[in-house]
């Protein structure tokens, strides 16, 4: 493996460099790319680093109550952003259990979008949140709806000569449920994002019409459960009504065996966790940061609101592993 690293200082230069040839890859935080390099799955001749593009980082509120997030914003900065907490609670919830703190401190939003691996936490949140991904290429800037961005395994609608520059996320209420089956910091075996427009819940629980449901990590890309969304529009917001609609919708999903679970079990997990997410949003009121009323999720030692890791671990000189 041998490559040069270039650190352009303008987006224009960056785009020019990545458009130059097929052997160039973009490196942002590097948490995904370095794994691909290590296992020889990529052999680029040039890496274009975004470290000299501070203008690409930052979170800003938008007029519609949503967010414009620069692609070079670290996941850790997002996780601790008050704007994200207020305007995009499902995103914040996903960030708190994404990878681990070392990953979040360096990984960037743009990379998390462009990586295109199916087992990631943010894609279903962006899909359910109806985010628009802003990309810049030689022909200028365009926006791709998140629902059209993820095409398959390491495959996205972002052109080879395009750079993710920002994510536009409308405001939402909602939740993200992460399921891991091996360890707490594992990749998701399932991610469920359920969102509604904030206006829908101004006076009590939101209407079942207008709820958006996306699942990730279960196929080669995140997808909306549109049949379920439609069915819910005509369903009374009761536990039984929600459960029945979920059971019907999930039965029709195409689900395959995964490395950590059989297709049958994955389908069951989708049903349970979509139902729980819907109940949280539609019945309990979604406010995940102030006591998740959903008692269903096992506590994997997730930090509480003080962001201090809870477990009484082995002690300062606990044996290395």
């Amino acid at each position: 493996m041998s490559f040069t690293i270039t650190e352009p200082s303008t987006v224009t230069d960056a785009v020019r460099l990545i458009a130059a040839d097929d052997e160039t890859r973009i490196v942002a935080g590097g948490t995904g790319l370095t794994l691909l390099l290590r296992y020889g799955l990529l052999a680029p001749t040039r890496l274009v680093s975004l470290r000299n593009l501070p203008s690409l980082a930052g979170v800003a509120g938008t007029g519609d109550g949503g967010l414009r997030i620069g692609a070079a914003t670290t996941l850790s900065a997002l996780e601790h952003s008050d704007d994200v907490a207020a305007r995009a609670p499902a995103l914040r919830q996903a960030l708190r259990r994404l990878g681990n703190v070392r990953v979040r401190n360096v990984a960037q939003l743009g990379g998390a979008v462009a990586h295109g691996h199916p087992q990631m936490d943010l894609p279903p949140v962006l899909v359910a949140g109806e985010a628009r991904i802003e990309v810049t290429g030689p022909a200028g800037t365009r926006q791709i709806p998140a629902g059209e961005l993820f095409l398959g395994y390491y495959d996205t609608a972002i052109g080879d000569d395009e750079l993710v520059t920002a994510v536009h996320l409308p405001p939402h209420h909602g939740v993200y449920r992460k399921v891991t089956l091996r360890t707490a910091e594992d990749w998701p075996a399932l991610g469920v994002a359920v969102t509604t427009d904030p206006g829908d819940s101004r006076d009590g629980p939101p209407a079942t019409a207008g709820v958006r449901i996306a699942v990730g990590a279960i196929g080669d890309r995140p997808f909306r459960l549109t049949d379920l969304e439609d069915a819910l529009a005509d369903t009374p917001p009761t536990p039984a009504g929600i459960a029945e609609a979920v059971t019907t919708a999930v039965a029709d999903l195409e689900i395959h065996d995964g490395v950590d679970a059989s297709a049958e079990y994955r389908r069951h997990l989708v049903a349970v966790h979509v139902r729980r997410a819907l109940q949280t949003v539609l019945l309990d009121g979604a406010d995940p940061d102030h006591g998740d009323p959903d008692h269903g999720e096992p506590d994997h030692g997730e930090p509480d609101d003080s962001d201090v890791a809870g477990p009484d671990v082995a002690g300062p000189d606990g044996g290395p592993r």
Binding site: A184, P311, V313, A314, G319, P320, R321
Partner: protein, 778 residues
């Protein structure tokens, strides 16, 4: 009054060096002029080697050599290494027997060139039939992993085994105590259950690394991250047919070992490459390669247990099959030494054990923290709960009723003594508040709790030799070949020697093993070091104390039996004191000389009767480790949260209570990973989850919210006499009870019994669903 050193919660002496990144590891060592080796590995599970074409690899810029068995066999005296059976070639010849087996080694100026070269070595093979499962490998018509089996080179007690042909069974261990079959036939209740554990891996932070070089007079030096430098020295001397004094093996701190870094691993290969090339050769394998170097045995265990109407276990028949992979490594010892504990910590009149070590076409399995006890305790402590619940007896009460207590004979015929089984169980009862009802969780969650107790015999016999050296200025250095791989042996040894010499542990230096200067030790394994080397060190330190008293008395002009050692000085009855430095000054006339004490320890042992395994003295001491778990099960999904994990262990004397606690918690956390997520998954002999991306070990967020260790310091005069300050090893005890305690707690919560590890959410969910369909919720 001198402060006691034994019993101090002293922070480990190397802690600051480790935290600041200055501690010495072989991984950080480079030797001038070294070549870097990358191993070419078999991609076939079983095949005949036809040809190895090195042309393209040698054409890579920077590649200097491609070493195959042809070159290795030209410089070695024997073709195979291995502690139990000499069965493993340094590089494969004739056949390859598992995916990942070393076939060739590319040596280059830098590791990248070596890696590129390794990709270009072309290995032509003809596939042979392979077998992967330990039970399938025992079948009459199973493909043979080895055509012929050779007996042990290193261990006297394995030498007696006949050479064998036509079987994959490397070792058949049997124990017969009473007449178990007859007793089963007469029992009021008979329970039969089969339990399985998967292969798993040590995943030490520092993967295997070794550097070989040839020095003056042909002395071969190997710098290696090894747990037993002395045995590597012995094995390399045999491999090259040179005296042991022409082999030097040294090590430093280890970034974890857990049993993987025992016995020859990279050392024969780097030594052979150095002999062939006459240049230093360094091989540092990747984390992924660690997964095909050594694993923990997969096992299948069937227990048939007879119980009387009043809840007494009357007979137990144990059948344990250990999957040792393609090469035996120390597997036969695991099958034998842990096999004899397979009936558990119970007082059972009639016991029969068959424990067999079986070859398969998978990576070799060997020692790992617990040395097989976590596998057999998974079986016996799961079944103990099955029996208790089936008879309507409280599981802890049932254990108490059947526990093997001091004075009673173990299944091996050895009478138990100094073994705190009852105290450990009592501690679990107390610390778990077992007699208080458990607060149930709200639906869909269910809470449950369980306990389990395991028993381990320390590997016996084995030898430790130590030197304690007092310098002209009175400072003390300890020479021994114990490897400190994170268990804080160096700190504990400093405490023991300091206690005897009435000085501060911080003032003692403990050397890293180097067979050129530190004396023999069997190895850092099986929780033996504190006891065995501790005894040798105590003897050595006492010898130095005797010399100090004699020299001090002479300098003070009094009789030797009138002086004492206090606060690092020799004191006369009249109050005059001579610090050690002044004793040395008087003794040698200047700041010079050494006082050297020597200690040798080999515990008593009586070789078991062949066939029955009976012995009046089977082990130097026994370890008892109990675990209590409280879990919450999500009845919708089968997801299990371990809310609380409590370890109770018999530690003899806690030489360093802080380290004892962290050892027990660390071991428990490691075993919790084996319980919940760790499993090597093979498809046609190919490991499909190699590396830490696909094989998940616990992180801090997987540590139970409440993790605690309590220890029993039980003092038995007979044992205290034979142990250094009454201490026992504690590195493994935290593993014994964890898996069955969690499974028993899951059963308590939702009424389903998991018989195969790991205890995954899907397995629990499937068991619950089967139970709902009218299946077994026993």
């Amino acid at each position: 009054m001198t402060r006691h050193q034994v019993g101090r919660s002293l922070p480990r002496l190397e802690g600051e060096a480790k935290v600041t990144g200055t501690a010495e590891y072989i991984h950080n060592l480079d030797v001038p002029g070294q070549l870097h080796g990358v191993i070419v590995r078999s991609v076939e599970p079983h095949a005949r080697l036809v040809e190895i074409d090195t042309t393209a690899a040698l054409a890579v810029d920077g590649v200097r050599y491609v070493i195959t068995s042809h070159e290795v066999r030209a410089v070695t005296a024997v073709d195979h290494v291995g502690p139990a059976f000499a069965d493993q070639p340094v590089l494969a010849f004739d056949e390859v027997r598992f995916v990942g087996e070393p076939v060739a080694c590319v040596l280059a100026d830098d590791p990248r060139a070596a890696a590129r070269g390794a990709e270009l070595v072309e290995v032509t093979t003809e596939p042979l039939e392979a077998v992967y499962d330990e039970v399938a490998a025992c079948a009459e018509d199973a493909p043979l992993v080895h055509e012929h089996l050779d007996a042990s080179a290193m261990f006297a007690d394995l030498k007696g085994l006949d050479d064998r042909e036509g079987t994959n069974v490397a070792l058949d261990y049997t124990l017969r105590h009473g007449d178990a079959e007859a007793a089963l036939a007469e029992a009021d209740h008979v329970f039969e259950d089969t339990f399985r554990t998967p292969a798993s891996v040590h995943a030490a932070m520092e993967p295997f690394v070794a550097i070989g070089e040839v020095g003056d007079r042909g002395v071969i030096t190997v710098h290696s991250a090894t747990q037993n430098p002395s045995m590597i020295q012995v094995e390399l001397a045999r491999l090259f047919d040179v005296p042991e004094n022409r082999i030097r093996v040294r090590t430093a701190w280890l970034g974890g070992g857990f049993g993987a870094k025992l016995y020859p691993k990279l050392e024969p290969l780097v030594a052979a490459c150095a002999v062939i090339t006459r240049r230093p050769v360094r091989i540092a394998v990747t984390m992924d390669e660690q997964f095909v170097t050594l694993t923990r045995h997969a096992t299948t265990t069937t227990l048939r247990t007879g119980v009387s109407a009043d809840g007494r276990i009357t007979a137990r028949v144990c059948d344990v099959t250990w999957n040792t992979g393609a090469y035996a490594d120390i597997g036969p010892r695991v099958a034998q030494k842990t096999g004899f504990t397979a009936a558990g910590p119970y007082d059972i009149e009639h016991v029969s054990i068959d424990s067999r070590c079986v070859y398969t076409n998978t990576p070799p399995a060997g020692a790992m923290r617990g040395f097989g006890v976590p596998q057999v305790s998974w079986a016996y402590e799961s079944q103990t709960d099955i029996i208790a619940r089936s008879l309507g007896i409280d599981p802890l009460e049932f254990r108490d009723r059947n526990l093997l207590r001091n004075g009673r004979p173990h299944a091996t015929g050895t009478a138990m003594h100094g073994t705190a089984t009852a105290e450990v169980l009592a501690e679990l009862r107390r610390a778990m508040a077992w007699d208080e009802p458990l607060t149930q969780a709200a639906a869909p969650l269910r809470r449950g709790r369980g306990v389990a107790v395991g028993l381990k015999a320390v590997i016996t016999p084995s030898t430790s030799v130590a030197l304690v050296d007092l310098s002209g200025d009175g400072s003390v250095t300890v020479s021994c070949s114990t490897t400190d791989m994170g268990q804080a042996s160096a700190t504990a040894y400093a405490q023991i020697v300091a206690e005897v010499l009435t000085i501060e542990a911080e003032d003692v230096t403990v050397l890293h093993p180097d067979t050129r200067s530190t004396p023999y030790d069997m190895g850092t394994l099986g929780s033996r070091s504190l006891y065995h080397m501790g005894n040798a060190l105590t003897e050595a330190a006492r010898e130095v104390r005797g010399q100090l008293l004699a020299a001090g008395a002479e300098a003070l002009g009094v009789r030797a039996d009138t002086v004492t050692l206090t606060d690092g000085a020799v004191s006369a009855a009249d109050g005059r004191r001579l610090p050690f430095a002044e004793v040395m000054l008087a003794r040698f006339g200047m700041q010079a000389g050494n006082l050297i004490g020597r200690g040798v320890f080999t515990p008593p042992y009586a070789k078991p009767e062949p066939g029955t395994g009976q012995s009046p003295q089977i082990a130097a001491f026994w370890m008892v480790g109990g675990a209590g778990a409280e879990v919450v099960v999500d009845t919708d999904t089968g997801e299990v949260t371990v809310e609380r994990l409590l370890i109770a262990a018999d530690v003899g004397t806690a030489v360093n209570p802080k380290v004892v606690t962290t050892q027990l918690k660390g071991a428990a956390t490691m075993q919790l990973g084996m319980t919940r997520s760790e499993e090597l998954i093979f498809a046609d002999g190919q490991l499909t989850n190699m590396g830490l991306g696909a094989y998940k070990i616990p992180g801090f967020l997987d540590v139970p919210g409440q993790l605690a260790a309590v220890f029993v310091e039980d003092h038995d005069p007979e044992r205290d006499e034979s142990a250094p300050f009454g201490a026992k090893g504690v590195g493994e005890s935290g593993t014994f009870g964890v898996s069955p305690a969690v499974a028993n707690a899951v059963h308590d919560a939702v009424g389903v019994r998991i018989r195969e590890l790991p205890l995954t959410p899907e397995r629990v969910w499937r068991a619950m669903r089967a139970a709902d369909d009218g299946g077994d919720r026993r």
